[in-house]
């Protein structure tokens, strides 16, 4: 079932703020203009490796939970 976008989050505005303006689409200004490079792929692997280490050090997960989570991430490397 299609659903609407979520409402806007509350803002931490210290001065009395005017109501938030409508969302503006700035994707063109922010969009990546170049294809993924080998460096991107290496960074993605490093990014995921960091998450794997985060799992290994997690003081709350069981060994079985860690194994499953690591396997999931390794499949994405």
């Amino acid at each position: 079932m299609p659903i609407d976008p979520p409402p806007e989050p509350p803002l931490i505005i210290e001065q009395p703020g005017k109501p938030s303006s409508p969302i503006v689409d700035m994707r063109d200004a922010f969009a990546r203009k170049t294809p993924q490079t080998e460096e991107d792929r290496a960074q993605a692997r490093a990014f995921i490796d960091g998450k794997i280490e985060m799992i290994r050090r997690d003081p709350y997960m069981t060994d079985a939970e860690k194994a499953a989570a690591i396997a999931d991430l390794e499949a994405r490397r």
């Binding site: 299609p2 659903i3 989050p9 509350p10 969302i23 960074q43 998450k51 280490e53 999931d72």
Partner: protein, 312 residues
């Protein structure tokens, strides 16, 4: 104290039979003398003790310095000269994780917002990657986060877990003047980047990931990234990905003298199974927990569990 008052050794533990004590000191000493000295192990042992003293999360800076000085006094000057600088990714300097129940307690959509407290530069000894990041609970959502690399200009980046080409938006802070601002928390003004990302079903088989930044000039959210993809409810709610709320993700063993960083105002909202969005709620101890690895960071403050700032 006279000999008659000397304390005797205790009786042996009672949990196993004991037929008398024999003296094997000489034999063990001889074996030890023949065993090659493992300098790497000794160094690692001392370095580990130093690391614990330097990063103990419940000691303040003065107490850490005192602990290190005590170790040096006991173990020698060589201990003080050991640098704990080997890269060690995957730490959580400080941050929040969603409880398993909360991670999956949404229907067709989930969305997250916070203000990343992001100093420029990060300061201290940061010499590689350091992330201020978060997920919105979904397994295939985005991390729209602040990425440091040493003392270089930070970047705002989007890593999309639903894609095979996950690196998408990558914008240096020098191009984010309209989005970076300052906010006062606990009487201190902090530099922040307000960020919002969401994941929700747009039809029976398709989800949408979005990332937005708050434009402080026009006072409205700017959509900076969006991607639609095929996925199932199970893919979104199974697994570990999506479990971290705002965290300081570390890549070094020890952080020293870094500037204050963290997150303020962590809000979450979910929709029910009919697509009706609820209301934004601050993250709380009932649906999240704090994780602190020993990386040298210490709390400046923690508002349970929707805001924290750390330095080192």
């Amino acid at each position: 104290m006279t000999d008659s008052n000397l304390m005797k050794s205790p009786t042996p533990p009672l949990n196993r039979p004991h037929t008398g004590t024999e003296d094997h000191q000489a034999r063990f000493a001889a074996i030890s003398a023949r065993t090659p000295v493992d300098e790497e192990f000794r160094t690692a042992f001392l370095r580990s003790k130093l690391h614990i003293a330097q990063t103990h999360p419940s000691l303040d800076k003065a107490a850490r310095d005192q602990a290190v000085a005590g170790l040096v006094d006991r173990l020698g000057q060589e201990t003080a000269e050991m640098e704990d600088t080997q890269p060690r990714p995957g730490g959580v300097g400080e941050g929040f994780f969603y409880t398993p129940d909360f991670k999956t307690s949404w229907g067709l959509g989930t969305s997250f917002s916070c203000d990343f407290v992001c100093p420029v530069p990060p300061g201290g000894n940061v010499n590689t990657w350091l992330y201020l990041t978060a997920t919105n609970r979904s397994g295939l959502g985005v991390e729209a986060f602040v990425s440091y690399n040493g003392q270089d200009t930070p970047h705002f980046r989007v890593f999309d877990w639903s894609r095979s080409d996950p690196w998408q938006t990558d914008i240096p802070f020098t191009s984010l003047d309209n989005y970076l601002t300052t906010i006062s928390a606990h009487g201190v003004l902090y530099p922040v980047l307000p960020a919002w990302n969401g994941t929700w079903a747009i039809d029976a088989e398709t989800y949408r990931n979005q990332a937005l930044l708050y434009n402080n000039v026009r006072q409205g959210w700017d959509l900076v990234y969006q991607y639609d993809y095929a996925a199932t409810d199970s893919q979104q709610k199974t697994g570990w990905i999506g479990s971290w709320a705002p965290i300081v993700e570390t890549f070094q063993s020890l952080y020293v003298n870094t500037n204050a960083m963290g997150a303020l105002g962590t809000w979450l909202i979910g929709s029910d199974n009919n697509g009706l969005w609820g209301t934004w709620e601050l993250l709380s101890p009932s649906n999240s927990y704090v994780r602190t690895d020993n990386m040298g960071f210490q709390l400046v403050f923690l508002d349970s569990n929707y805001a924290f700032v750390v330095d080192s």
